[in-house]
């Protein structure tokens, strides 16, 4: 496949949204978009599937809760049962609070680290800034020039109606845009 991409820069989220919609309807392959903040509806416009991170969160939470419950039961009534104020060896109610906290802790950390994993974020990673002001006040749409039908001038013309600020062609390194 080709490794050339077209970067279209917008000034306002509405333009970006509209453009994305249109481009996708045209059947061009949208590689990614870059925005200074989470633009609502952009994921729908780009046709992204809902994230599966929720499952990671759920599983971690369960592990935390069940693991801690078992541990509390094991320490209090199996390894060394100790008479504490005449309470029963294994009193579930008193195990709940800690189990809950463990669940939250694991779920929270689990999903955050999962996010870092799948989005390839790590300390000191060199960011690729497709456009200098993309974390400030510019919106960039990245279109793949893969299919033969695609020719740059017509594309630029097409994007004009979404008052694009500027367009540029880039050569992407391998696997740069997910």
């Amino acid at each position: 496949m080709s490794d050339r991409v077209l970067l279209a820069t917008f000034e306002h989220e509405d333009d970006l949204l509209a453009a994305t919609e249109a481009v996708r309807r045209k059947g061009w392959r949208i590689l990614d978009a870059f925005t200074p903040y989470a633009v609502h509806g952009l994921d729908r416009a780009m046709g992204l599937k809902p994230s599966r991170l929720t499952w990671v969160c759920f599983i971690c939470g369960m592990t935390g809760a069940l693991g801690m419950l078992w541990f509390e039961h094991w320490t209090a009534s199996i390894t060394w049962p100790i008479d504490v104020g005449g309470k029963p060896w294994n009193s579930l109610p008193s195990d709940v609070p800690v189990a809950f906290e463990a669940a939250v802790l694991l779920a929270g950390f689990g999903s955050v680290f999962a996010l870092f994993g799948v989005s390839r974020l790590w300390p000191g990673k060199k960011p690729k800034v497709v456009y200098p002001r993309v974390t400030d006040d510019r919106f960039v749409l990245v279109i793949d020039e893969a299919d033969a039908a695609f020719d740059v001038p017509s594309a630029e013309r097409f994007l004009q109606e979404f008052n694009v600020v500027e367009t540029a062609e880039h050569t992407s390194e391998e696997g740069h845009y997910s």
Partner: protein
């Protein structure tokens, strides 16, 4: 839908700003040299911090006896301050998480600093359970780790242990929540600052954030998840704190109403503290356009409702005592209102229930100085609430022979002051080195005018 929301509301950000302006305005305090006011504030709070540190050092080196406690009253300032600070810690998460879930966009103005406040408040809170131990250096025994004692674990039946888990979890999750929210802004700062230490640090901390929509997509999910987790966490933490008392046998402690009562109280005090800080920040850092009177008013109303809930709780306690027919219970509450420590009780009622009623009046809740006075009083009142619950319940319990009185020592007071020192030192530093308002979220939430922004610093460099 956000249109619908905001159509009939006054704008969240006033003074027609562009995206670029937002960035610039919020980052301004970080670029500018600290004002004299900041320096003064910082000096004061740092001195307080040092005083506290000295007191703690002396106390650990000499013994808990340097506090005014005795054989009857085993907890005084220490746990009072602990509960006080934990309470304050709550509003942060509440505002950022709960309001986030309810799509309350106005939160964006305050959530960043509220979260930071949570973090620092919980830090302050955490200190007290640590130093209140007779043998602080053995605090790690609270952690269930494998050991050569056979193995001897910990007592999961003890509310104090639940506390350990609750507080540490809460601290960790709040920290993560805060940091995750900070990442995009760090990236913004990274990209707009010249090469130098700030660029270096931010590029490490921003984890190579590039604003990719795919990442934003996942990010939103996770942020939502964290908010979802943090919300029950907030409630659980203060519930568990309240169980320290509720599960005991001491009349005045042994009350089933405590969990909701404590949570309400916590949110109440938290809000008070948030407002206090926001009013200060607003003035000192010129963020009037972002922290508008609307925000203040909204939060005042929230606080008013909480104040009423707390008031209800106070009343309920007395009703329960009277209704229970338990003579010890009845005595404790009568003693609270009329006994040797009634002054503390009435201070509490005045500050927490009576004074906030003024907020019914729109004029009051829209005049900053008045609001400021009220929130300060609420802070005081909420501290006394904890003091009343802990000390007055202990100082007269079952056997009259062991009734005692409690007077704090200088060491205790110094430690208390120190905790404020720590809190404000951290907060002031935070204002300097991190954006006090969530840039990305404000951009996302506020509806800004459509027109090309004037050139940004980055371009100037380019030119």
């Amino acid at each position: 839908m956000s249109e619908l929301n905001d159509a009939h509301r006054s704008p969240l950000v006033t003074g027609d700003k562009t995206l670029g302006d937002v960035t610039r305005d919020i980052c301004a305090p970080m670029d500018a040299r600290p004002s004299g006011l900041w320096w003064a504030a910082f000096f004061v709070s740092f001195v307080a911090l040092l005083v506290g540190a000295a007191a703690v050092w002396y106390q650990i080196a000499t013994g808990i006896g340097t506090w005014g406690l005795n054989k009857t009253i085993g907890w005084g300032f220490d746990i009072t301050n602990f509960v006080f600070w934990v309470g304050i810690g709550h509003a942060g998460t509440l505002i950022s998480a709960v309001l986030f879930l309810f799509r309350q966009k106005w939160r964006t103005a305050v959530n960043r600093s509220a979260e930071a406040m949570t973090l620092f408040a919980v830090m302050c809170a955490g200190i007290f359970p640590l130093i209140h131990m007779g043998r602080t250096w053995l605090a790690y025994w609270m952690v269930p780790y494998p050991n050569t004692r056979g193995s001897l674990w910990v007592n999961f039946k003890s509310p104090l242990l639940w506390d350990v888990f609750a507080i540490s979890t809460y601290l960790a999750i709040s920290a993560v929540f805060w940091y995750v929210g900070l990442i995009p802004d760090l990236a913004t700062i990274r990209d707009r600052s010249q090469p130098g230490w700030r660029k270096r640090i931010t590029s490490i901390l921003s984890l190579g954030w590039d604003g990719s929509a795919r990442t934003w997509h996942r990010y939103e999910t996770v942020y939502m998840l964290l908010a979802g987790l943090a919300t029950p966490l907030v409630f659980s933490v203060h519930t568990i704190v309240s169980m320290d008392f509720a599960t005991s046998v001491i009349p005045g402690w042994h009350t089933t109403i405590f969990p909701p009562y404590f949570v309400a109280g916590a949110i109440f005090s938290g809000l008070a503290m948030v407002i206090t800080l926001m009013i200060i920040a607003r003035k000192t850092m010129h963020l009037e356009d972002y922290v508008t009177m609307k925000h203040i008013e909204r939060m005042s109303l929230l606080m008013l409702s909480m104040g009423c809930i707390v008031g209800l709780a106070y009343g309920t306690e007395f009703f329960m005592a009277a209704y229970s027919g338990n003579p010890y219970e009845q005595f404790v509450f009568k003693n609270r209102a009329l006994g040797p420590m009634s002054w503390a009780y009435w201070t509490m009622v005045t500050c927490n229930v009576l004074v906030p009623q003024l907020l019914w009046i729109k004029k009051v809740r829209t005049t900053l100085p008045l609001v400021f006075v009220i929130v300060i009083l609420v802070n005081v009142g909420m501290w006394f609430e904890r003091f009343v619950i802990i000390v007055t319940s202990l100082h007269r319990d079952f056997l009259p022979s062991s009734w005692a009185h409690y007077v704090p020592t200088t060491i205790e007071i110094a430690t208390f002051v120190g905790s404020f020192g720590l809190f404000f030192t951290c907060f002031l530093l935070f204002c300097r080195i991190a954006p006090a308002i969530a840039i990305a979220e404000v951009k996302g939430a506020a509806h800004l005018k459509k027109h090309a922004s004037t050139t940004t610093p980055v371009e100037e460099q380019a030119a």
